[in-house]
């Protein structure tokens, strides 16, 4: 058994400013297997990976790779030794071209100088494996999150690695693209390459993984063949407690009473802006959860940004509560009772150096202040309420938000908007990168908010979430609303069909 182990990590400790993130964690990967690494937010998965690749220095523990003791001090060395990694937050260089992002670190040369022709060809070849055709000369920042993610994956595959690590590669991919990725993973496996796969989406694990390692609170709590462990078992190991779940539901959304929905609160007609949003119309009623479905790049995020006045729209009208609504900036939108939780947590959500409390109060602060002076006491009450309500895992309201795990950061941001008591809350990928436990909590929370009369616009790339959560689903395709479905009409097949080939006529 020992000889077919590619990687063995044992007794790994890692502390950040004294706070343990890993406590005697162990992790073993065999040659040619696809190995799932799962655990709640903050369990230490990303940290374990960063320790392995030398980005973080471990405090204790041993690592052996390919039969030899493995001591690296930088991702560069890890890469050179045959470990290539896709990190959780997409890590590309935004201004640089796709080619450069794919080929950085293993450039092709001719006469000692870079051979751009060969590098472009290489980039195109690698992307072709993912059915992506893009102008590889253009900066990656011009492309959608999904394409960027694919570029990151293509980059990792491009190194002739023995071990490919993917930390939540699918969080910004839609189902079709996930399918493509899985094909690639299977090919890798067939070539004898081992893959470590981190994901919060349990179905994906069953689809592609051979074995699973479960982490909790910095420790490795269980290793199993994926075929020998049930979903419920998996989840309860992750959470460390038994959980009862309503069978037949993949999400925590439960049925809602259509009669409870109020009158139309928000309506947008023929919104347009640039090429991303060409003609989008939708409406939301009080107490309704409206869902946006669509492939990546369909223009959902852009539409939400128009409604929130984060971008200028070039056409279309909007009404809110029956009156014309024409905000000039997010300030107006917030004043009118909107909230907007963005999809890009790192770039557009958190203020990393500020505390949990300060981050949560960012939007509400002016309202809680008396003539411009912050009311600490009132803030504290609100913050503590939401820390508890959202069960945010932090050492206290004064902890820096950047020290929190991704999922907990997301909860803080949710708290930021809930604290403003909005009439319409826009949630762009609210459960992206969040563990099942927290995900269920957030979904249940969204539902109960809607039950209390809040209108919610939920953008999600997880079909299940839209199907089970939304009262009404708007399907977008290439900047057009191509379909509007009620809860009853919205089946997986119907949505997929509309996402793939729906035309605007079908919408009305």
């Amino acid at each position: 058994m020992g000889e077919d182990l590619l990687l063995a990590m044992a007794g790994v400790d890692k502390r950040f400013a004294g706070i343990p993130a890993l406590i005697g964690a162990s992790f073993e990967v065999r040659r040619g297997e696809v190995h799932a690494l799962i655990g709640q937010n903050g369990a230490g998965k990303s940290t374990l990976i960063k320790v392995l690749t030398g980005y973080h220095k471990k405090d204790a523990g041993s690592v052996s790779f390919d039969g030899k003791p493995f001591e690296v001090t930088s991702p560069q060395q890890a890469q050179a030794s045959g470990i290539s990694t896709i990190y959780q937050e997409i890590n590309l260089v935004p201004y640089r071209s796709i080619t450069e992002n794919i080929c950085l670190g293993r450039e092709k040369r001719r006469f000692g100088l870079l051979d751009w022709g060969a590098m472009h060809a290489e980039a195109e070849r690698l992307l072709a494996r993912f059915n992506i055709k893009a102008d590889v000369r253009r900066p990656v920042m011009e492309f959608s999150t999904a394409t960027q993610q694919m570029v990151a994956i293509a980059r990792a595959i491009g190194f002739d690695a023995k071990l490919v690590i993917m930390d939540e590669p699918t969080s910004s991919l839609d189902e079709r693209e996930v399918g493509v990725l899985f094909d690639v993973i299977r090919q890798l496996k067939a070539e004898g390459v081992s893959v470590v796969f981190v994901s919060h989406k349990l179905d994906e694990l069953y689809a592609v993984c051979d074995r699973v390692t479960i982490m909790r609170d910095g420790r490795t709590v269980r290793v199993a063949e994926i075929s020998g462990i049930g979903k419920l078992d998996l989840v309860s190991s992750m959470l460390g407690r038994e959980i009862a779940r309503v069978e037949g539901h993949a999400t925590a959304f439960t049925d809602r009473d259509p009669a409870k929905l109020g009158e139309t609160l928000f309506a947008a007609e023929h919104l347009s802006a640039g090429s991303a949003v060409r003609d989008v119309s939708f409406s939301i009623r009080r107490g309704e959860i409206a869902g946006f479905a669509g492939l990546l790049g369909a223009g959902r995020t852009e539409t939400a940004r128009l409604a929130f006045a984060a971008d200028k729209r070039s056409g279309g009208t909007m009404t809110l509560g029956g009156a014309p609504y024409d905000p000039a900036s997010p300030i107006d939108a917030i004043a009118a009772g909107l909230g907007f939780c963005t999809e890009d947590r790192k770039a557009e959500g958190i203020v990393p150096d500020m505390s949990v409390a300060e981050n949560m109060m960012l939007a509400l602060m002016p309202k809680l202040a008396k003539s411009g002076i912050i009311d600490e006491a009132r803030q504290r009450v609100v913050v503590e309420k939401f820390i508890k309500a959202l069960s945010i895992k932090c050492s206290g309201p004064n902890q820096k938000i950047r020290e929190l795990s991704g999922g907990n950061q997301q909860k803080v941001l949710l708290g930021r908007w809930l604290a403003t008591e909005p009439r319409l809350l826009i949630l762009d990928e609210p459960t992206r990168g969040i563990d099942v436990g927290a995900k269920g909590e957030i979904q249940a929370l969204i539902k109960s908010l809607a039950d209390d009369g809040l209108a919610v616009l939920m953008i999600s790339s997880e079909l299940e979430e839209v199907i089970e959560g939304a009262d009404r689903v708007f399907v977008l395709r290439e900047g057009l609303t191509v379909s509007e479905m009620t809860r009853a009409e919205a089946s997986e097949d119907a949505i997929m069909a509309a996402m793939a080939e729906g035309s605007p006529e079908a919408a009305r």
Binding site: D353, M365, G372, I374
Partner: protein, 332 residues
Amino acid sequence: MTDATRATVIERRPINPFDLLARYGTVIALVLLIVFNLIFTTNFATLQTLNVNLTQVCTIVIVAVGMTLVIATGGIDLSVGSLMSISGALAPMVFMSKLFPIGNIYLAVALAIIIAVGVATLLGLFNGWLIARFRIQPIIATLVLFIAGRGIAQVMTNGQLQTFKVPEFQFIGLGRVLGIPFQVIVMLVLVIIAAWVIRKTVFGRQILAIGGNEKASGLSGIAVKKVKLVVYAVSGFCAGIAGLVVIAINSASDANLVGLGMELDAIAAVAVGGTLLSGGRASIIGTLLGALTIQLVRYTLLANGVPDSVAQVAQAVIIIAAVWVQQQGRSA
């Protein structure tokens, strides 16, 4: 708090010697400097020494207060020295009735102060406008007035020295209230207000948020452009006041020299005071201590006869040492 919880707290945050150094690094440096001077510098332990140091550090602190706010938003203001010279050139033109006749000297001085500081504030606003409206990088946007501003002051005065003896005006630089130099009072008031704004007000929090993550701030309903405009205007305002202090002490305004090199002194004070140049944090008290440290270093070197060339090297080493120690505490 029970013993058990206290134990876990201590377990989680072991006391780090560098932590202490970082938090009190500037204070420690100051204390060390004072001890050094008490031993080696003749005639150091006198009230007059304190007086000399406080009055000399005033203008740097006043400018550095505005600079701290600018830096907290992630910007920088290179134009402060030039704005000082414009303010310093304008005021005498007004109170000596060169622009328009004013009968009453008190009225003239009041107008002079208002016009000089007002123009500096407006020019600061102009910096902010370039940065907020056109998204020009702050170094370049303020480089414009760094170059042109002093030129404007020189053109206004034709480069000539303006000398004056107007005690009503010179009170700013030479007067005393309860034995404390008036300029020191101005400095302390500005420091206290700025520290309070940063800690206690929505505006202060918004400054830090913008420095920490501008996009997130905008999406959270912070009027990013407006905050930036105000911050650069405040920096201009502070520079305007500092310009008046300088000319008041010297009974003369020299557009060529007032505020020359001030931008670097102020930035160094901010950095030594522990505010990161990348934005998102601000310590006004730190800036005050930073400026005092730099001032005392200068005093020490001068008083002990260290040649200018060696003094430059020594200052460089001390700035780096101070900043490095603070950084240590943070990253540990």
